[in-house]
Point group: C2
Chain length 82, copies 2
């Protein structure tokens, strides 16, 4: 199924308590080489027809205005999958 | 910074109420060509040194055993970024 994938991460200078908790748990279980963990969102927008350039532009606008909160989050990638 | 990116999505035959709510909101605001939305997680594991094949194997094991719940989620991708 054609889909657009929007990837959103918490801004780098922001604390990410959920990521911190996962990093601590990984380190406790022996993965000491992992220095930090950040947890964001991966949003799939599904289409019933092939994806056009207009769809990509539209998704990009929705990603920054509606799907993410630009005070605390960055849209890191918008990709297409057929 | 070197990082391993783990992408996790809810299983396809599972309801995703958060995604459903976002799909409804997008459709109400005029994006009628979006047929469905699924929301998953994007987890970054940060390293202070270059990433080895051993790290990728390790991350793959942690992704399926600890970072995701394989009753309700699928690990859809594990990628490396330098």
């Amino acid at each position: 199924m054609p889909k657009i994938i929007v990837e959103i991460m918490p801004k780098q200078d922001l604390l990410d308590p959920q990521g911190k908790a996962v990093a601590n748990a990984l380190q406790r279980s022996g993965n000491r080489e992992i220095s930090a963990v950040r947890i964001g969102k991966r949003i799939e927008l599904h289409f019933d027809r092939p994806i056009t350039d207009q769809d990509m532009e539209n998704a990009s606008a929705q990603a920054s205005s509606f799907l993410s909160n630009d005070v605390i989050e960055d849209v890191v990638a918008i990709t297409k999958e057929d």
